[in-house]
């Protein structure tokens, strides 16, 4: 090998990247981190999952309810769009339902979670310890009086009494003063603790409107966010003032950040967290709330779950805050997406989830593929026939180009649909354009009597300007379509941009290298073109 060349290096990188992303299609049993990069097929080719959601507009005014469905569809679409180029189908179904179809099933759970989150962000003050104690006592008493409304608690109560006092006549005296609810919630290090085995029953109670009535006015009970890393962990129960100090509508922007390992704050050191920025009004409210409540705790509550409840040490101006908690990185980024796309206008609940089949018959896939092969063959043969050896080089590189397009689509998490495949086939027709431009120019230079070497140099020098200008114009359009478009437009823009970049690289760098390395030397007299 001669001296080091950037061109050679770029070709090596080009081939390696292509091979990396295409390997999972060809080789089974690759490690998980590798094989998860696999080209997804769209709803039309392979189907996927469908989730039916019902929008609950009972709490909205009639005017709001009318727009709520469309508004929710818009928000769901934005969330899925931020999740990647998934090419979902989102449709209104009747008056109250939304149908969401997503291709493939691999990421379905995460996507479903993302769609369903109402993302009601609220800042609420934590009750003072003595208030908390009183609140829980009242709740306990209220529940005990109306035990018949809570069959699960009643059952638990019976069981407890049996365990504690097999002789049932003594049970009442033994349990005097404390009710069944207090057996679930014990005073903990901070606030109260719910043991892992009781978490589900407490969660159910908190969601129960009857139970909510047992809580004194102005207060609210909430669990702390579960730590997804720990399977069986006790959860903290916090008593909050139900007054909302700040809400999601005060939020301007949410962003995932990663705390540095040198950070002195243990809550963010080496952990992902979400930094939020508030709107002007929100920032002012935040300043007032923090100023008025120094030394108290302010809870950041999302969908009724306490994410963190830091103490207020000082008045905070500027409207910046952090949501910390035991996040995994993907949880944090999902949450940021949800916070940025805004609250769902009305709560939604899933009605059904099912696997769905492809919308196109297998025959249309087969004929689409066949058409592709025929088209590709025609182009390859033409180039071979018209440009001889140089045409062969262009054909050889074209194979890598097609590979590169598929590889990059995989890397972008794009979804391949039948029209997408047709688009790629057309790209192949257009991909040889850069080669044709350059070859025609080289022929012109050869006609002027130049040697192959200088004809190639001169031809490239001129034609490359043309290739840049013509392709860059289209690339600008693709970038804009990606940035501002949504749904199918984005998918189209990605395919277009990848096709342009691939074919430019192949014609300008790849083909030229082969020509100059293997075909022409300084002394060659003829060039097969």
């Amino acid at each position: 090998m001669k001296k080091f060349s950037w061109r050679g290096l770029s070709i090596v990188i080009f081939i390696c990247v292509t091979a990396f992303y295409l390997a999972p299609l060809a080789i089974p049993n690759l490690p998980d981190w590798w094989s998860k990069h696999k080209l997804k097929l769209g709803l039309d080719l392979r189907g996927g999952m469908q989730i039916l959601l019902e929008v609950d507009t009972s709490e909205l005014s009639e005017a709001d309810a009318r727009g709520a469905l469309d508004q929710n569809i818009k928000i769901i679409r934005e969330r899925i769009d931020q999740f990647g180029v998934a090419e979902p189908t989102i449709q209104k179904l009747g008056e109250k339902r939304i149908m969401v179809q997503l291709p493939g099933v691999s990421n379905f759970e995460a996507a479903e979670k993302l769609i369903k989150q109402t993302a009601m962000l609220e800042f609420k003050l934590v009750a003072q310890p003595e208030d908390s104690k009183k609140v829980l006592e009242i709740v306990d008493a209220n529940v005990n009086q109306n035990l018949s409304f809570f069959p699960k608690l009643a059952a638990l109560d019976k069981k407890d009494k049996k365990v504690l006092a097999p002789d049932s006549t003594k049970a009442d005296s033994l349990q005097a003063g404390t009710g069944v609810f207090s057996t679930l919630v014990r005073p903990g290090e901070r606030d109260y603790t719910v043991q892992f085995d009781d978490v589900s029953i407490v969660q159910e109670l908190l969601a129960d409107t009857l139970f909510q009535r047992a809580v004194p006015m102005g207060f609210q009970l909430a669990l702390e966010k579960a730590n997804t890393a720990e399977k069986r962990e006790d959860r903290r129960l916090v008593v909050l003032h139900s007054n909302v100090e700040l809400s999601g509508s005060d939020l301007a922007k949410a962003k995932v950040e990663f705390g540095s390992s040198t950070s002195t704050d243990p809550r963010i050191a080496n952990k992902p967290y979400i930094s939020i920025e508030m709107k002007r009004d929100g920032a002012m409210k935040f300043e007032r709330v923090t100023g008025d409540n120094i030394n108290r705790r302010l809870a950041i509550v999302l969908d009724g779950v306490v994410y963190s409840d830091p103490s207020i040490n000082d008045k905070i101006s500027g409207g910046r805050a952090q949501i910390t908690g035991t996040f995994t990185t993907s949880e944090a980024s999902e949450l940021a997406i949800v916070l940025n796309t805004g609250n769902l206008v009305a709560p939604i609940k899933p009605v059904s989830t099912s696997i769905i089949g492809a919308t196109l018959g297998s025959d249309s896939v087969r004929s689409g593929t066949m058409a592709g092969v025929i088209g590709l063959l025609a182009v390859v043969l033409f180039m071979l026939f018209y440009y001889k050896l140089s045409g062969f080089i262009a054909d050889f590189v074209l194979v890598f180009n097609v590979g590169f397009i598929l590889a990059m689509l995989t890397a972008f998490g794009a979804t391949l649909t039948l029209p997408g495949i047709a688009g790629i086939i057309l790209t192949i027709g257009m991909a040889v354009d850069a080669n044709v431009l350059i070859y025609e120019r080289i022929r012109e230079e050869l006609d002027l009597g130049k040697t192959p070497r200088s004809a190639v140099d001169a031809g490239y020098k001129r034609a490359v300007i043309t290739v840049w200008d013509s392709n860059l114009t289209t690339l600008i359009a693709a970038a804009v379509l990606y940035q501002f478009g949504s749904g199918p437009i984005r998918g189209f823009a990605v395919t277009l941009a990848i096709g342009i970049i691939g074919s430019m690289f192949c014609a300008i760098v790849f083909v030229r290298s082969i020509l100059e390395t293997f075909v022409i030397t300084a002394t060659s007299k003829k060039l097969s073109i």
Binding site: L93, A371, I425, L426, G429
Partner: protein, 326 residues
């Protein structure tokens, strides 16, 4: 072998014929759109979605094949029906989406009857022993468009912004006149194709929109290649009349224009003839697009640049005007 070597076709000389042809095509398109309207597909309009259970009560009857259901609905007045399995294949539960011909709310009950009729006549063995009113069509809804108004506005905005930025880029690299005329030629191409779709009553689907965007990309590419040669030749042949320089540039790029149009047309024709019914209209739009995109690059875009430059400048200053940037 060489195609189109040393041609000297008077493209600039015959430009008024080309303008006339384009005008006729565009006017025909306008009339077509005015008379027939655009046939928006189910992607853009509301329709009816029905969940149909066709699991035979008799266990000996094999599960209904989806392709069979597709072809039956196609031949019975619902060629645009979109059908997919819901749940496991052996449960033979299908989601059928069809376009509603009217917009009244009782359309679902009307459609329900029609679908039931079709199913009963064609697949009696799959509905035998079921209550036709309840058990076959389990749910039926009015279904909103896949691409609703909001998405359409966003897409339109994105396209407009990208057109403006393309003009700016061409302005920067060439001259404003080139940018404006290139975009005008794009509108010309898209308009003619949409007009043909209106006249022939073909459906405008999301795929057709993608085809139109691809055509825009192809056509601008083609136009810029010719512009680039004009820019180069304007600097080389400073003494020649502008019209001659333009004509020479178009002729010298002709072989490349024809070859690229040819290879792309190969692939589009392959899709048209072998790609199956789904890709038929998509490939049709692409074939038209390649044809008119090439035509507009040769006959319309650069000729309009000459006419506009002549209209605003004297012959002598035209070259300076067109080459003042780079």
């Amino acid at each position: 072998m060489r195609l189109m070597q040393n041609t000297n076709i008077p493209f600039v000389g015959i430009r008024y014929w080309a303008y006339a042809l384009s005008a006729i095509l565009i006017i025909a398109g306008v009339i077509g759109i005015a008379v027939n309207g655009l046939n928006w597909s189910i992607d853009f309009t509301s329709g009816v979605a029905a969940k149909v259970n066709l699991k035979a009560t008799d266990a000996k009857v094999p599960p209904l094949k989806i392709d069979k259901l597709r072809s039956v609905l196609k031949t019975n007045g619902y060629p645009e029906a979109e059908i997919q399995h819901v749940g496991e294949v052996e449960n033979a539960s299908f989601m059928i989406k069809i376009k509603s011909k009217t917009s009244s709310s009782d359309v679902s009950s009307d459609t329900k009857g029609k679908i039931l009729d079709i199913i009963q006549t064609n697949f009696p063995e799959y509905v035998a022993g079921k209550d036709l009113a309840k058990d076959v069509i389990e749910e039926i809804y009015e279904v909103g468009p896949k691409v609703g108004g909001e998405l359409r506005t966003a897409a339109l905005l994105a396209v407009l912004i990208s057109l403006v930025l393309m003009i700016v880029y061409i302005w920067f690299r060439f001259e404003l006149t080139f940018g404006l005329m290139a975009i005008l030629a794009l509108f010309h191409d898209v308009f003619i194709i949409v007009g043909i779709f209106a006249i022939t009553g073909r459906e405008i689907t999301v795929q057709i929109i993608a085809a139109l965007l691809t055509i825009v990309g192809y056509s601008i590419n083609d136009t810029i290649v010719i512009f680039d040669r004009i820019r180069e030749d304007l600097k080389t042949y400073r003494k020649d009349p502008v019209a001659d320089v333009f004509n020479r540039a178009i002729n010298r790029t002709l072989s490349r224009t024809i070859i690229t149009a040819g290879t792309t047309l190969f692939t589009a024709l392959a899709l048209y003839f072998f790609g199956g019914s789904v890709l038929h209209d998509f490939a049709f739009a692409m074939c038209l697009g390649i044809f008119f995109g090439t035509y507009s690059s040769i006959f319309v875009a650069s000729n309009l640049v000459i006419d506009l430059a002549h209209a605003t400048h004297k012959e002598k200053s035209t070259i300076q005007h067109l080459t003042k940037r780079k």
